[in-house]
C-alpha cells in the first residue's frame, strides 16, 4: 500500500495517541511534530481517504461539554494501516542510509 507523507504522519499520530486519537488531538500531534499548521480540511479528507483504504477505522465518540455537547470522531489504526506505516518507515530508513543531512548550506 502506497502512502503519502501526510498519510504517514497521520497514521503515526493515531498510533501514538491510541485510544485518545480524534480530530483535535491528531491535529495537535501533527502540528507539534512538523511545526506546520494542519487544516481541518486536510485532516478530515485524509482520515476519510485512509478509512476508504482500510488503514484506519473511525467511530463516533461521546459528546462532551467542552465541545458544546458535540461528539468526537475517534480514529484507530488497523493492522493493515500499521503494516503500511511500517513499510513507509522502513523505506525512508533504507533510502536515507549513508546520507548525512546538514541544516546549513
Amino acid at each position: 500500500m502506497q502512502l503519502g507523507e501526510f498519510e504517514y504522519l497521520m497514521l503515526t499520530a493515531v498510533a501514538r495517541l491510541g485510544e485518545g486519537a480524534y480530530g483535535v488531538t491528531i491535529r495537535q500531534e501533527i502540528e507539534d511534530a512538523t511545526g506546520r499548521p494542519c487544516s481541518l480540511g486536510a485532516l478530515y479528507t485524509t482520515i476519510e481517504r485512509l478509512e476508504s483504504k482500510g488503514l484506519v477505522k473511525t467511530s463516533m465518540g461521546d459528546p462532551t461539554p467542552q465541545r458544546g455537547g458535540r461528539p468526537k470522531r475517534m480514529v484507530r489504526i488497523t493492522p493493515k494501516g500499521a503494516q503500511a506505516a511500517s513499510a513507509f518507515y522502513n523505506a525512508v530508513i533504507r533510502v536515507s542510509r549513508g546520507v548525512a543531512w546538514s541544516a546549513t548550506k
Binding site: 483535535v24 487544516s39 481541518l40 479528507t45 463516533m60 468526537k72
Partner: protein, 290 residues
C-alpha cells in the same frame, strides 16, 4: 462581524454530512478557534469535500452533455418563446372577439397559436424535468452544484445577444412584460422549478414506473416534434446562427433549410436515457425475482 462570521460558519457547515458537521463544529468549539480562523477552516473543508466528487467522470459528463448544451438551448428557447407567446397573447387580449372562433380561418389561427404555446410550455417542462432527473441520477453527489450551474446557463445564456424585434429604448409596460417578464417567468416556472423537481426525484434511489415513463417520453417526443422549428428559430432570431431564407428568399417559410434539425435529438437524450434506465431496472428486478 463576529456574529456574521459564526453565521457563515454555521451556514457552510450545512454543506457537510450530518455526522461530520457535528464533529467539526465540536472540534472548533474545543479548540476555542476565533471566528475568522473558523471560517477559513470551514471554507477549506467544504471546498475539499465539494471537490472530491469532481474527481469522477460523471459530473464532467453531466456538465458537458446537459448543463452547458441544453442549458444554453433552453436559455434561447425561453427568451424566444416568451416573446412570441407574449406577443400572440397580448394581440388576442386586446382585440379579442368571439367571431375568431366562428370563422373557420380565424379559428384555425387561434388553435394554431394555442397549440404552439401549449406544446412549447409542455416541451420546456418536459425537457427541464428530464435534465434535472438525469443530473440527480447520474451524479447524485454533485447534483446541487450542477443544478445551480444549469440555472446560471438558463438565466444568463443569452447575455450579450439580442433578439430580432428588440423593444425601443423606453419601452412601454406591455413591451416590458413581453420582452423581460415573460422570458423570466418561462425560465423560472417552466425550466428551473421542473429541473429542481426532476433533480430531487432523480437523486432518490427508487426507479420510475415503466408505463407512465413510456407515456411521458411519447408525449415529450410529440411536443418536441411540434416545437422543433421554433427551437431552431430561437437560435436564428436570437443572433446565434445567421438566418438563411432558402430559395424563396423569405424567412420562416417552408423551404427554409434546417441545418439545426439535430437540436431536437439533443433535447430528447435525457428522456431517452431515463426510458432506457427504467427498462433496464425493470429487467433487473424481474431477473432477481426469477
Amino acid at each position: 462581524m463576529t456574529r456574521i462570521a459564526w453565521w457563515m460558519v454555521e451556514s457552510l457547515s450545512r454543506l457537510l454530512d450530518g455526522d461530520e458537521r457535528e464533529v467539526v463544529r465540536g472540534d472548533l468549539a474545543e479548540c476555542g478557534t476565533n471566528p475568522a480562523q473558523a471560517l477559513c477552516e470551514m471554507i477549506g473543508l467544504v471546498i475539499r469535500r465539494q471537490a472530491v466528487p469532481w474527481c469522477d467522470w460523471r459530473p464532467w459528463f453531466m456538465l458537458t452533455s446537459v448543463v452547458i448544451p441544453i442549458g444554453l438551448l433552453l436559455s434561447y428557447a425561453t427568451r424566444s418563446w416568451g416573446v412570441t407567446s407574449g406577443a400572440d397573447i397580448s394581440i388576442y387580449w386586446r382585440f379579442w372577439d368571439f367571431s375568431y372562433l366562428a370563422v373557420p380561418g380565424w379559428r384555425r389561427d387561434v388553435i394554431a397559436v394555442a397549440v404552439r404555446i401549449g406544446s412549447g410550455c409542455l416541451a420546456l417542462v418536459g425537457w427541464s424535468w428530464t435534465c434535472g432527473f438525469v443530473l440527480g441520477r447520474v451524479s447524485r453527489r454533485t447534483v446541487g452544484l450542477t443544478v445551480l450551474m444549469f440555472a446560471v446557463a438558463v438565466f444568463f445564456g443569452t447575455m450579450g445577444t439580442v433578439i430580432a424585434g428588440q423593444p425601443p429604448e423606453n419601452p412601454s409596460l406591455q413591451y416590458h412584460v413581453v420582452f423581460v417578464v415573460l422570458p423570466r417567468f418561462f425560465r423560472t416556472f417552466l425550466v428551473l422549478l421542473p429541473a429542481a423537481w426532476g433533480a430531487y426525484r432523480g437523486s432518490k434511489a427508487s426507479s420510475l414506473p415503466l408505463g407512465p415513463t413510456v407515456l411521458g417520453v411519447m408525449v415529450l417526443a410529440s411536443a418536441t416534434f411540434l416545437v422543433s422549428h421554433g427551437l431552431e428559430r430561437s437560435l436564428v432570431f436570437g443572433g446565434l446562427v445567421p438566418p438563411d431564407p432558402g430559395p424563396d428568399g423569405f424567412l420562416v417559410s417552408a423551404d427554409d433549410p434546417r441545418p439545426l434539425w439535430f437540436l431536437s435529438l439533443v433535447m430528447m437524450w435525457p428522456a431517452v436515457y431515463i426510458l432506457a434506465e427504467t427498462s433496464r431496472e425493470r429487467g433487473t428486478r424481474r431477473a432477481s425475482r426469477a
